[in-house]
Amino acid sequence: MDRRYTLLAILVVLLAAGLLIIPNKGEKKEIKPDKLLLAINDQARFLSTDAITERIIGGDPTLQLIDVRPAKQFNTYALPNAVNIPLDSILSPSWTELLHQPGKDKVFYSNGDIESDAAWQVCTRNGIPGVFVMKGGLNHWYNTIIKGAEPSNTASGTDLDLYSFRQSARQYFTGSGDQETAQSGNDASTQKPAKVSVERKPAEKSSGGGC
């Protein structure tokens, strides 16, 4: 009986030793430069502010907005349900789980789209799938959705549709479709975050499943 166990033990140890011999590949999953270049040239990573607004209003569960601006700016104003990951901590392990959530579109945004695009590049290089950038950032979002200009009388039907969509979106975000009140509401930007439900408990949320 003992001899059989000894044999078994040797077998197991040999099997484990086999792991040492095989080359260690893919420890760090970085994608190759040529693939990265291809991805950078692909404009599909940019999502328009209108498309995102529509998904916010529709309560799309696959949308995960990520605000890469510093925390102070995030606390002053942020899009609903966005998570704040300042650009310098994008690689911090506390966010890996959030960034790797399967089935979610991780959309980065900043004031413009320079920081958010940088975050996109870092993540893409690290092999994180499903990351996007909000084209134009918050500034563009504000200009189109909150302050969207009325189209001229000769505008095409699609433009008019877009305008009416933006108008209803404005109503959603500011509580008023009227441009004047919308703007006065925005001047007092400090009262804003109270209205917008900002959720900030990302990684723990899914890890709570645990055992």
């Binding site: 197991v12 140890v13 484990a16 792991l19 966010w95 890996t96 789980e97 990684a203 723990e204 890890s207």
Partner: protein, 197 residues
């Protein structure tokens, strides 16, 4: 690269629960057939008269670990897609200590108590009632514990990375240690007076 099958979309999500029952069945059978439905057999590990917990636990861990590493080597499985239990340093240690005390008092852990319940152990049923009460207490006291619950988050950190070695070297060392423990355990079992249970 095909596995993990459900996250990769090879098997549709809707099959998830079917596999849950099937895999749970294997889990329950393996545990019960090894004797994990008996609290006195489980606790034997700590007094040296029955090391079945140690043997089963470590055999299972190294089997799964070596299997995963080989599968990831031949490219059937994407290790980075696996769910790595996140490391929360403080809560892992304190939670572990609380569970350790509970383990030595109750004689079960959740998985084994389900096995006990299935074969009619009344103490296992009471243990499960206790578990539910414990979860309730924790949830009610959560505001007090929230800070501890979230502190020291290191994310899905690998033990091999924090020790500065490769995954395979760590796996090899763990296997050697486990096999050493098996022999040690068998030796101790022979020395210690048997306990009838």
């Amino acid at each position: 690269m095909v596995a993990p099958l459900i996250p990769m979309g090879v098997i549709p999500e809707s099959w998830n629960n079917v596999f849950a029952v099937i895999l749970g069945f294997g889990f329950g059978f393996a545990l019960e057939s090894a004797g994990f439905s008996s609290s006195r057999k489980i606790i034997g590990t700590f007094f040296g008269y029955d090391f079945v917990v140690l043997k089963v636990f470590f055999t299972a861990a190294i089997t799964a670990m070596i299997g995963l590493l080989y599968l990831s080597y031949i490219g059937w499985l994407d290790f980075s897609l696996l769910y790595i239990h996140p490391t929360f340093l403080a809560s892992a240690i304190i939670g572990g200590i609380v569970m350790g005390i509970g383990f030595s008092m109750g004689g079960y852990c959740p998985g084994t108590s389900f096995c006990g319940i299935a074969i009619g152990k009344i103490d296992a049923m009471i243990f499960m009632v206790g578990m539910a009460i414990g979860v309730l207490i924790f949830s009610e006291a959560f505001p007090l514990l929230e800070k501890l619950y979230n502190s020291g988050n290191l994310g899905g950190k690998l033990v091999s990375d924090s020790l500065g070695m490769s995954k395979s070297l760590f796996a090899f060392l763990l296997t050697v240690v486990a096999v050493g423990m098996f022999f040690g355990a068998t030796w101790v079992e022979k020395k210690v007076r048997k306990v009838e249970y």
